[in-house]
Symmetry: none
């Protein structure tokens, strides 16, 4: 069963709540397992540049089915690699099937990762 619109929005909402908790303004992207946009929100004050970076993080996660910082390890010699620092996380069902991905941008790498994890946590497992 694919990621539903309700699930995608729950992921966005949880990510935004965490970002607000740590005083961050971020863009949050949720893609389905085909890499197509399912839900998006840009918080007030987030850089415009965060839109594109969050998109690329989520896209990288769904394309490689792994967290973005791990893609970096995989792809290091490849100049064509997508964004490869933390903040993109594949969303998976409890049985391990890929559902899509979340991408977050707006803060430091570790912050973006924390926010993405919080979004990921909104999915029923």
């Amino acid at each position: 069963m694919p990621l539903t619109s309700d699930e995608a929005e729950a992921v966005v909402k949880a990510a935004k709540a965490r970002a607000a908790d740590i005083g961050l303004a971020v863009s949050v992207v949720v893609l389905d397992l085909g890499g197509h946009l399912k839900a998006f929100s840009r918080m007030d004050g987030a850089w415009l540049g965060s839109i594109d970076v969050a998109m690329k993080k989520a896209r990288t996660s769904v394309l490689f089915e792994m967290e973005t910082q791990k893609v970096w390890e995989l792809c290091r010699p490849d100049a064509q690699a997508h964004v490869t620092f933390a903040g993109g996380i594949p969303l998976k069902a409890s049985d391990g099937r890929l559902l899509g991905a979340i991408g977050v941008s707006g803060g430091q790498v570790a912050q973006d990762f924390e926010v993405a994890r919080a979004g990921w946590g909104a999915l029923p497992l």
Copy 2:
């Protein structure tokens, strides 16, 4: 004052509610006045192609500050015109200032327009 994240999400929510009322699954895009993505949702069952069309409708509305079907009238001789059928509406403040735009795709032209208008109606005027 720019369109807030809360306002953008209220617009998306109202548009989705109307779409559900008329049995439609759509993509809803809200852009700020610079044409940058502020909020997005794709309802379950909406065509993947609706993402891009909704984006283009919203973009056309914000670039030309008018409803998309009117751009068509303006640009008819122009082979390079953006998508020009109904479903993109500029979002304006009560004093007439441009705030951004909504774009909707997923149904017939008249349906998309109705859904976009419902979204627009969520803004305080």
Copy 3:
């Protein structure tokens, strides 16, 4: 001798003056004979969409060395034609050599053409 920066800015200035005279807010593009941007100005209140349209008009003029509305006559059967309504004019030296082009967008077709002609008039002939 190629179009100088001073000439390009005189063209922009003259076009803007005419636009202001007729109560219009436009984007004015001046390209050199290679089709590369030499000078640009977007007047306050001009639609964002006028940037791209003015660019395409100027580009069409320099690529085909003719006024944009004439390209339309040439290309009518070709769905790939560039913007083909009036508002792009090739800039030529007194000896007929192509110097570049001006493109204007922001008003009705006839207004854009009038503004572009005013800009063209700033070149020494």
Copy 4:
């Protein structure tokens, strides 16, 4: 209040004057806060390649609201980073609001930065 056309052209003029002082031919880009072109000038003798580089520097500045060389520090692990060397500066109002950005290209990095700063200095503070 957004960056006006007069302000944008004052920024371009000041940047060009500084470039001329130091014997440089540059492209100068001024974008509004949505990243859309407001004013542009390419000095005689500037490389054609300076157009695109100046655009990207300005775009990066407005997207990330910081000077381009600082984006580099932020994004170092990111293979997809935009142009990140000096020469793009966000333009801000006296109250700190983002107005847009200037991007300069044509010389050495330190020269481009000096020219961009000179342009920035033309804004009333």
